[in-house]
Symmetry: C2
Subunit: 381 residues, 2 copies
Amino acid sequence: MNKKEDFTVTPWEVTGEVDYGKLVEKFGTQLVSDEQLKHIEKKAGKLDFMLSRKIFFSQRDLAPWLDACEKGKKVALYTGRGPSGSTHIGHLVPWMMTKYLQDAFGCNLYFQLTDDEKFLFKEGLSLEDTHSLALENALDLIALGFDAKKTKVMIDTDCVKQMYPLALEVAKRLTYSTAKAVFGFNDQTNVGSIFFTTMQSTPAFIPSMEERKKTGKKDASVQVLIPCAIDQDPHFRVTRDIAGKIGFPKPSLLHCKFLPSLKGSSKMSASDASSSIYTTDSPEEAEKKVMRAFTGGRATIEEQRKLGGNPDVCSVCNYLKFFFEPDDKKLEERLAAYRNGDILDGENKAYLAEKVKAFLKEHQRKRELARKQLDKFLYSE
Amino acid sequence: MNKKEDFTVTPWEVTGEVDYGKLVEKFGTQLVSDEQLKHIEKKAGKLDFMLSRKIFFSQRDLAPWLDACEKGKKVALYTGRGPSGSTHIGHLVPWMMTKYLQDAFGCNLYFQLTDDEKFLFKEGLSLEDTHSLALENALDLIALGFDAKKTKVMIDTDCVKQMYPLALEVAKRLTYSTAKAVFGFNDQTNVGSIFFTTMQSTPAFIPSMEERKKTGKKDASVQVLIPCAIDQDPHFRVTRDIAGKIGFPKPSLLHCKFLPSLKGSSKMSASDASSSIYTTDSPEEAEKKVMRAFTGGRATIEEQRKLGGNPDVCSVCNYLKFFFEPDDKKLEERLAAYRNGDILDGENKAYLAEKVKAFLKEHQRKRELARKQLDKFLYSE
């Protein structure tokens, strides 16, 4: 195995330097096409920078979802989070895209918080822990400005009565052999972890179930689009394989890359708090993390002025690209200046730090206001 | 493997001629002791024939449950049924014992109907099917005269919000390796079936959970006794192994033998309707089944008068012993007369048929009345 191939991506582990080209090939997904981008741009008025910069780069069946939107059919969005700790900026990437799509296409969002998953997969977490983390994580979603009337937050242990019958339909059709092949389970895996993916399937079907209940039409269906980081794709391969067999449309997928770690590797590490900026970090803490971040700089200032920096491996540049500099022109200029040595790490870090502090201050204010709104977002039948 | 050992007992399959002595050894259970029988007799006033005849013959930790009763501690009963079809007489055996114990010890019964299990394990059944079968099966329980104030019927898909968090606690501590060894799963088993035993564990813990909620004492516990057919023991071995690790007492068990098939083998077959008498059979149908039953008779009447019959292998005698002749003296006399040739099959069948018809007539009357009571029995938080 050469170095380029030396990476692993599963819903529970991302290691090595991810080659997204190879990953698309391995997972069998498609790149987002220019035509699809144009379709979205036309509808939204403006193409979100996460799409134009190819942060959201891969898809499955995005076309049928866009087509359903075009034809005025019922559509929905579904994304979520495994509540294993505080929310970090990397988690916000798919949520921001989801917000953009909800605003553009005006559809409902089902937001799943898998407190069961994180309890089952993480040694040190109790169900009480993951449930209260789920409520905390929901505050971050609400703080982004989602519309309570169109957003249903589903915490698995709270919504299990709605989810379990659908999970059983999936579970009956999923052999251990397939689950093992898709997720890499072994004999020591606990039986809850083996079952869990069936719960993650269910929000892909709940919009159709609700529509059937509402209209009395047994074959009513809602086309669901799932914006998510690409490590979640294995879950939805299973979902898509089984959807047709249980009378639902296959959900569409829109995949993003991972926000790289502040330490320079492919994905933030939940076990190393300094590798990511959490929405609950104080602006001062966050600033310190930025100032200590891995960059694309050279050994000396002199060298960097002469040879330039490498923005591709620079976590400061990547933070600007993924989240903190939505202005394409400003970003381009900055990255070019970094590449040719006109901007050095100190200034670049200071620029990002200001953006981060401003974002956190505002987000944390909205996040506190969200506590009072929480009840309006929680799913009830 | 010699013929005596050539049998299989799992929760989903009983084949061959079951040697109960060997089964106790294989499962590692204990026989019910004379001391335990005396304890129950003293409390109940009279020893139920299912105990004196050793139909209930095996146990795990029966002593701590009796001890808890003696000391006035909180105790409960838990039994159930997998709703894969109509209830037959074999199912009523543990329910009758449970009724006797509830009357004697005055405790709550948690009655689980595993509609999820039967959906997962049976190819042709939908969740709607198993849920409506669960409601039908509950009528048979109610018809036996259980007290609504002390009896909580839990249908898994209806009670999953209460059960799922407890099932997750079990699931986190149960590896696939153990589940495979206990239940004989393989790579083709569906992931729902692998997970299911954790749901069957939960009614063993729910009484303690309720007590904790009621009293506010985090370590409050209720000792639970599970009367059941011995094929359910593997589930509760898992439950017992994990109970201590999640802060609950190990449930006690009281096992019964299987009501033999009317065709003569160890256990009734759900796939052959003539091998069992269903509570919904018309008295005439039931009579026909009895008249065609496998007996311990001889080739000719003459031979039988001379050599006598074999009541041990006779399904008619077994039906009397397990259910339809509660009077020990009458049973003994009849079996002795059958053994020495004084009673022939025709008379024996006619005797049983009368008992069966009378039982069904009365049971079916009560069963219809139960429809109106059903709501009072269904578990709600």
